[in-house]
Symmetry: C3
Subunit: 149 residues, 3 copies
């Protein structure tokens, strides 16, 4: 029997934070049918461009922390992350120098977390790209589409 | 009783333009189920990079004008914007200098419009990012996913 | 009677490749309802920034080749591309110099292919933007949302 994702969080020692204040006039997530579209999020102790101010390992940790924040939003919207039936799509933006090439290594920070928590249902389609700049000079921004029951 | 969005446009003095000519081999919008996926749009009197050629206030106005163009596409596709039940997701790209950090302030130009027109149903999940470059050197490009009845 | 897309591939002399190894911890595509969300892909003989290392014509060819790779993923996921009822959304990222403006001409490489193969059902909403950088310094990355029966 599969461990419920909320139980996996306990095993991983992860406590979900409440959703942060939005940085503008938008909301964290919108439900349509059985899909949840999440706003872009960012969380972690680093600031600046990956490849210059922030290392790949730091950016990986930042992407994982951002994933935890997105899970916090999902829990807030659905009551519990156990209602997630599939992580559908992850879109990851890395605020990088223009010669940076390791975006997938950074985004694995979020993807590894999702697989750790949801198992097969956490495996998703992903697009990883380099942004020329990001709000507040955050190193990584991630949004998601999630299927829920 | 809630004012219909088409009536709100009249109150706001907004006339929706017809969809512009696509800049390439694509169409303005595709319906699937009760979702409408819109192509990226841009509209306004400014050109160039935000933070260098275009100010934040100008870019805010550009994002609002682009929002009006997107509403024009929605009206064209659905017959009337009154069929919109929810703005689901807004994706905003700001053509910015690589040290620009105020993307949310720019994108509020579109988001404030959507809330003005649709009220609570206009409040959406949003991702705002900095593009390294944009077609024709436009300062802002926005696409959307919209739920309709 | 409309020619089936798989037959159109034969007429166009196109053989679909198997899906490539993902560049990180993600999967090629996820089905939800009758939508297929595809991960970002890239394929072709060029490397580097469009407008400096790669010409528009080369990038057009790269976008077309990437489109063929995406069709390969669709065929792998659905058994055959003939189950596609509509290409819904194409999102194209061009790894470009910061003064590049011809993103639509590049992305037409993918869009022209989709129209060649699927006809009217291949015409899609599209967003074309300039990325500051892309994984492995690829010139173009494309993802899609596809409706299937």
């Amino acid at each position: 029997m599969k461990t419920p994702p909320s139980q996996r969080l306990v095993e991983l020692g992860i406590t979900l934070p409440p959703p942060p204040e939005p940085a503008g006039n938008y909301i964290h997530a919108v439900k349509t049918g059985n899909l949840l579209f999440l706003a872009g999020k960012a969380d972690g102790p680093y600031i600046g461009k990956v490849g210059r101010d922030v290392t790949i390992d730091e950016a990986y940790a930042y992407a994982r922390q951002t994933g935890i924040q997105l899970l916090g939003v999902i829990a807030h919207e659905l009551g519990t992350i156990d209602r997630v039936t599939q992580i559908v799509k992850v879109f990851g933006l890395v605020n990088a120098t223009d010669d940076f090439i390791e975006h997938p290594k950074v985004m694995n920070g979020c993807s590894d977390l999702l697989e750790d928590v949801f198992g097969e249902n956490g495996r998703h389609a992903r697009t990883s790209v380099g942004a020329g700049s990001l709000p507040g000079n955050i190193p990584v921004e991630i949004d998601m589409v999630v299927e829920f029951a």
